[in-house]
Symmetry: C2
Subunit: 339 residues, 2 copies
């Protein structure tokens, strides 16, 4: 592998000129630059990233800290879509960024901050991380630029941004959708209560109820920790005693679990019971019946996260939080009830 030195030598210039040429400095004569490029090509030279990172203090690597890399739920590929979005944004930018995926479960020996510093990672995107994560707080307090997904950051640290859909609004919409179709006996299959996303969605559902003049007391909320299995078990148990007209689930995975329980109880969807999801994972259009749900555009989320991160790093972030549009996907799992 040719080094900058060899290029310089062969082109009869000093290394600094070569360096400048490659870094688009303008104080290099065009002619010289061309000559250098020619030689570089001939020698098959390309700058060594390690050396580059070492000497220039610029940090151009971004880390993607995610809980979705090692989890066993093959159905959950949000992390990958987010990844795709980040990748695209980065590929389209003028930066030469590389992406480091870190699994939150694996990363227990060492704090994220430490990991990032070691690797000269200049900014991180956090996905599927909980605010009570042992290292989350540490990261937030650092001056490392971060973008968190599905978390609303409350600190006044200017280096922290966030991206998410408007969960309250989305929940309001899907609850409203059910209410409009005359569902009054709705059971909410919620996720993990401490979670920002969960709180927002609960809020949205409540708002929808209120705007229909309904009492909140009547609302049954079952907490299934965003787990398919948990949702299945809870729904199964619930169905032994009561039969609501609809299950409003805070994730598609949980909706799948619920559907299984409903079917096992000998009930039909949507004839006997309606079910809705949240996320719009790929398989939602293939379930029987196809699941009505809220679509989150994870690719878009990832893309925006990467762009926001760059903006933060360059100190020109306009908004600290970016809302991504969601979409109600109307399919076949909800029945309109007689008034």
């Amino acid at each position: 592998m040719a080094t900058i030195k060899e290029v310089a030598k062969k082109a009869n210039v000093s290394v600094s000129v070569v360096s400048k040429s490659f870094n688009n400095y303008k104080d290099v004569k065009e002619e010289t630059r061309q000559r250098i490029f020619a030689v570089a090509k001939e020698l098959d030279y390309s700058p060594n990233i390690n050396a580059k990172n070492l000497s220039s203090k610029k940090r151009m690597t971004i880390g993607l800290i995610s809980s979705g890399v090692l989890n066993d739920n093959v159905k959950d590929s949000n992390a990958f879509d987010i990844f795709k979005g980040v990748y695209r944004a980065v590929a389209d930018s003028r930066f030469d960024l590389s992406i480091n995926l870190i699994d939150s479960k694996r990363q227990t020996q060492q704090s994220y901050v430490q990991y990032c510093r070691e690797r000269n990672i200049g900014g991180a995107i956090l996905q599927g991380i909980r605010t009570d994560d042992q290292y989350y707080k540490e990261l937030i307090d650092t001056s490392l630029p971060c973008v968190v997904l599905d978390i609303m950051n409350e600190s006044d640290n200017g280096m922290i941004g966030s991206v998410s859909i408007d969960n309250a609004k989305a929940a309001r919409e899907i609850a409203g959708y059910l209410l409009q179709r005359n569902h009054r006996d709705i059971v909410v299959i919620a996720g993990t209560p401490e979670t920002y996303v969960n709180k927002e969605r609960i809020k949205g559902v409540e708002e929808a109820l209120q705007s229909c003049g309904l009492e909140l007391e009547g609302l049954t909320v079952l907490e299934a920790d965003f787990s398919e299995e948990q949702a299945y078990l809870l729904a199964k148990k619930y169905l032994q005693e009561q039969q609501p007209t609809a299950f409003l689930c805070f994730s598609d995975l949980m909706a799948i679990g619920v559907m299984k329980a409903v079917k096992e109880a000998g009930l039909k969807i949507p004839e006997d019971i309606s079910v809705t999801g949240f996320d719009d994972l790929v398989f939602c259009s293939y379930t029987e019946p196809a699941l009505t749900t809220i679509r989150q555009d994870f690719i878009e989320i990832g893309k925006n996260a990467a762009q926001l991160l760059q903006a933060i790093k360059e100190n020109n972030a306009v908004k600290q939080h970016i809302w991504i549009e969601h979409q109600l996907m109307e399919r076949d799992s909800v029945k309109t009830l007689a008034n």
Copy 2:
């Protein structure tokens, strides 16, 4: 961020001792080592990876070159599963590897080799790459350790390994499954003919036919380029003229396309026509009817690829090709015909 110097100073030793301590050299007194570690912890020190890579010529980063990062097919998450497998294998190893994802479509300006050299990438795993890829050949000729997926490498370069299921065998199995159920008018929806995977699967189907004493001439093969849309169009057109008893598809995505065409033709699956897939993507169990297919364990594939790559790098690879077990997933899309 503390540097090795500061640690050395505070521990009253020279930097080299610190370096050695961290790199498990044995010529450091245990007592000193402990003292150094204590100081390091106190100073929150951890070695800088860039500097490390720069000075030691060891290459511990592996690259994952994939066609699946930027493609728009959200249904196709094989790449992610492979990625997961690689990640796990790497996380379990004693190496500190980081993963670089490279999209083959994006990577047009620069050869893989060059990309890897720049980043000090010591080995690469190629996924979804075609042997006629402009940079593939170059890579194979290099001394960069590589593991290719779904390609059978013919060169005698000892640095190249490969991992895949036994495609011929799998195809034989699923074709046999159909034949056993008395299907005789089978249309194969194949992928891209130049592809290793495709050739093997064709071979497998032919072998199955032969072992039943059937003529190969009767076999209809439609090439749909592994595309859902193409498969849909071809099946649609074919159904206007003829009606086979079964479509044997070389990918689930194509099977989905075929199923759509069949349904649109007013035919029922599996009553009128049976359909089989290949891959077992997540949504296969949710289709209506659930798709009978060949399951590829992509996570396992990724894991083995990473392990093989390490073995190659350490010069102790036993086999150059690793076969991963596949599995016939029997679901509801095939009907047993009357004899």
